[in-house]
Symmetry: C2
Subunit: 220 residues, 2 copies
DNA sequence: GCGAAACTTGCACGCTGTGCAACAAAGGGG
DNA sequence: CCCCTTTGTTGCACAGCGTGCAAGTTTCGC
């Protein structure tokens, strides 16, 4: 099982405090968004709940919405990390697909669904999330460049990664809107969607009715 | 040639004034961004230059960055409009490709390049532009739904449109960074990029070296 | 013209984001 | 253990943002 806390090497007080504070702020922001709704609270409220000053909040995040995107960043960072550990001689798309599939097994997946649904009703949060995906795109392009060498142009790389992320985003959004308030982190539905949509991307979009995508409820 | 002012039907003073004001504000914002740099000016300055009050500015836009995205919105709206006028029995991807190719012939294309370059150094503007593409995505999905009927699932539609827009975005970004301060709206380079990248999308990403994409400067 | 509807403007108010300087906590010798 | 440096926290101040409101002004339909 995947975990974000596998670095158990000795860590100074300084470093640990910063991680704790960051986490406390992010949790406070998420709790508030959950209870009163996204965009319906102030930075002061987050800071108070996290037990820090207003000023300290802004030492960690640029805005209230940014504090809500650390989970999205975490998801994408994890996907990149998983991708990096896969065998380099595997076909590219297989690596990409299994990296995302693996990543859906992370903890707290239902929170991601919630965040997607929040973004659907809060423009500012949506922008923050889009920016988060955009930043991940840059990192992934970097990771791919070192794998593909100079055999691929910037335009090719950016298009490829953009498409992969668009499809993943679409799969997650679809999953999030179909799975309201699922308390049990059911990643199976999400996995199926990501697999379907990335496979389709690999093989081309030419025919709308291909594979398991065209007609949603026609089994086989 | 394409134009955004082909509606010459009788228009009341009210409507015309609003259009003029909106345009004045957007132009003022763009001029300012161009001269002092994006993010280096206030809403008051935009309002003053546009000859309206601060309050009126906020009646038209939510933020300074929003005033800079009307051109992006215009580009995408135009693409949708062009797409809608194409024959419905043409293959889907051909319609999509020629819609975007046609749209690159619009006026003021070099400004779009400038805006892309501005967004590269201004996070807030980048977010606004990402949001603009996102909103267009919703509209395009809507347009496609009425064309494809109920034969395609939401997930399929969102993935398809997301990929098309990602590729177009990548093409424009690539073009913008390769074409700094081109005063002559040279859309040919952009057309070639969009054609290459959307064609690749149609046929699948399986092989990195396929077509004219893999090795940038190896003719044929 | 004249009244209704729509638009502009100034004002007020709370919130945002950041520079700055004082304070506190952690780390590293001697 | 103390002192000094480094690093993080906090309060303060201040310019700017975004919006509700009410009073003007312009446009429209009759």
């Amino acid at each position: 099982m995947l975990s974000t806390t596998d670095n158990v090497e000795p860590m100074g007080r300084r470093e640990q405090n910063k991680i704790d504070t960051r986490r406390a702020i992010a949790d406070a922001a998420f709790d508030l968004a959950r209870s009163v709704g996204p965009g319906a609270f102030t930075v002061d409220q987050i800071a108070e709940r996290a037990g820090v000053s207003r000023r300290t909040f802004f030492n960690y995040f640029h805005s209230a919405e940014d504090a809500l995107t650390v989970r999205v960043d975490g998801f994408l960072d994890l996907a990149i990390e998983v991708f990096g550990k896969l065998p380099q001689d595997e076909p590219l798309f297989d690596s990409i697909i299994s990296a995302f599939i693996e990543t859906t097994r992370m903890e707290g997946l239902s929170q991601h669904g919630e965040l997607f649904r929040m973004a659907a009703v809060n423009p500012e949060l949506l922008r923050a999330q889009l920016h988060s995906w955009e930043r991940a795109e840059v990192r992934i392009v970097e990771a791919l460049r070192s794998r593909l060498g100079s055999g691929a142009s910037d335009l090719y790389l950016n298009s490829l990664v953009g498409c992969v992320l668009s499809c993943t985003k679409a799969a997650m959004r679809d999953w999030a809107s179909d799975t309201p308030t699922s308390g049990d982190d059911s990643g199976a539905d999400l996995e199926a969607r990501i697999l379907a949509v990335l496979t389709m991307l690999r093989d081309g979009f030419a025919d709308p009715g291909v594979g398991s995508m065209g007609r949603p409820r026609s089994s086989s």
